[in-house]
């Protein structure tokens, strides 16, 4: 899996490409850990180019979300392919993740929260 990183204001944006599974999930966890140690706890994951995710990948996302919430941060997701979105719905994880249609919409939500 390939991970492209950028910062949009105080939000770390990671664009993932490829498969999110057992091995690549470990890589993603390391990336998030590195962000946390730099005190970047507002994290957005753009999944537009994730063409496969399995239960190991979902487990990694849950683990990341727990870690970020423990640090009073926030995790958002966007651009899920329909079949990826469906897995979130089957497992009911769509109820606990903040999922947006687009990256722009997700990033706007950080501004809204910040201005409240």
């Amino acid at each position: 899996m390939d991970i492209q990183k950028k910062e949009e204001g105080s939000v770390a944006v990671l664009k993932l490409r490829g498969r999110l599974d057992l091995a690549s999930g470990a890589t993603l966890k390391e990336e998030i850990k590195a962000l946390s140690s730099s005190e970047l706890t507002l994290v957005h994951l753009n999944l537009e180019e994730v063409d496969f995710i399995n239960s190991s990948g979902l487990g990694v996302l849950v683990s990341i979300m727990k870690e970020i919430r423990m640090q009073k941060g926030r995790l958002t997701l966007s651009n899920l392919a329909s079949y990826v979105q469906e897995i979130f719905e089957i497992t009911q994880l769509s109820h606990i993740f903040e999922i947006f249609t687009s990256e722009e919409e997700a990033l706007n939500s950080y501004q809204s929260v910040g201005s409240n």
């Binding site: 091995a23 239960s55 190991s56 487990g59 079949y83 109820h95 606990i96």
Partner: protein, 140 residues
């Protein structure tokens, strides 16, 4: 009918290799979404179970995958060398929302038209999954 047979070592890196081989076969055989995704997911879940729970990441143990691609169906057998795996599967508890594992078998049950789990007398669990190619697995 096309038949493909693969053998993998029980190491983490095998998962990526297996998925790449599977994607290649499905492209070659013209299997497209939604059945492609469901089939890959079911095999991936069975493979992860074989890797972590069946063979317990023992690199001396193997995982075999046999694929049968027909015009109207897709079938896969995923076979490991572990012992007692079927008891673990049968005794599994429903996963909770914030659990980081335990969703694999539920996803196989959801996507596959048929699935069967059996254990050989001398050890080794076989998971068989079958998909209908003319049925929309995603919107089931």
């Amino acid at each position: 009918m096309s038949v493909y047979k693969y053998e993998y070592l029980s190491v983490i890196e095998s998962e990526d290799k297996m998925l790449s081989n599977l994607a290649h076969v499905l492209t070659k055989e013209g299997v497209e979404n939604p059945e492609r995704y469901g089939f890959m997911l079911a095999i991936s879940e069975a493979f992860t179970n074989a890797l972590l729970h069946g063979n317990r990441l023992d690199p001396t143990k193997k995982i075999w995958i046999n694929l049968e691609i027909k015009s109207n169906s897709l079938k896969a057998d995923i076979i490991d060398e572990g012992k007692g795996g079927i008891d673990q599967i049968n005794k599994r508890k429903p996963s909770k929302l914030l659990d980081t594992n335990g969703r694999g078998v539920d996803l196989i049950e959801y996507y596959a038209a048929e699935y069967d789990i059996s254990e050989y007398k001398n050890g080794g669990v076989k998971v068989s999954v079958t998909f209908d190619r003319d049925k929309e697995t995603i919107s089931k």
